[in-house]
Symmetry: C2
Subunit: 146 residues, 2 copies
DNA sequence: TGAAAGTCTACTTGTACTATAGACTTTCTT
DNA sequence: AAGAAAGTCTATAGTACAAGTAGACTTTCA
């Protein structure tokens, strides 16, 4: 039940980008800033941010003074979206996946014990991750800092 | 967030072993019976059952008329135990694992946003899997068959 | 005694994750 | 116009682990 490094790094980067800067304006950060702060190999992070950009979650600007910023308000980006882009389906087994269903070959899927339970697991994970936005995370972190 | 084939096959086999036979006595099954019924490569299943046996979840008998049976009543074996034996920790990241904690290197673990959320995910998975016994599964399947 | 079962260890193979490399494009500043 | 600062894109290397295979060994019973 592991989250890959891609997923982990991507989430860290997105959380960092969602964290309000001192002046309250949306953060614009460069790859290097994120990779240094979060201890992520730069070239690897580059790929990850590119995927998130191509998926529409980030905007970027090239050239001097460029960098990355969130494409939408942090309230509208869920952790579930991020993980799905970087790591694929949340479901533990494909036969309970919403986004990448595949039959598992058991005689009767409707009454397969494993499937019943894994469906519950999938839902628990999905509810949590889809129900938590970047704003929720930064809010929670902020309230711990008081 | 994937369950490995080892984990999947192991769960399937344990559920099959937990399913009450017609006479109501504990099932004794041979590797071949399980592997045929569940479409699992025999030699692979062999290893899996051996792990579960060495972990104390199964008893076996060698020789003619031998086979595997659960070492405890199905009410006392949780899916969480099985998955941990075959796939390791349930936690998505090591820094929230109860059984295999490892620091992730973030500046302050107590206020790390990723850690907060992944802790929730871990708990959701663990509550579900540790709270579901083999008996719960077979019971659920049985009630669907009416 | 031999067939039927589990035991144990090693090996192979494939694949996916992680990371690195390098050449390219865009943008700003001077 | 030039050059530095940033992101873009594709390929590839390395590694680890999952999945599966092989085979020789041991125990049990008829």
């Amino acid at each position: 039940m592991r989250l890959s490094k891609r997923g982990e790094y991507g989430l860290r980067a997105m959380i960092m980008l969602a964290t309000p800067s001192a002046d309250g304006r949306p953060s614009v950060l460069q790859i290097r800033e994120i990779s240094q702060h979060e201890q992520i190999p730069g070239k690897f992070l580059e790929q990850i941010l590119l995927s998130l950009k191509n998926a529409g979650l980030l905007h970027s600007k090239m050239g001097v003074g460029g960098g990355y910023r969130l494409a939408k308000p942090p309230t509208e980006i869920s952790l579930g979206q991020i993980v799905r882009i970087l790591d694929g389906p949340l479901a533990p087994v494909k036969c309970v996946s919403q986004m990448a269903y595949e039959p598992c070959g058991c005689p009767d899927e409707e009454t397969c014990g494993l499937r019943l339970v894994m469906g519950d697991v999938r839902n628990a994970i999905a509810n949590l991750l889809d129900g938590t936005s970047l704003a929720d995370v930064t809010q929670r972190v902020h309230s711990l800092h008081e």
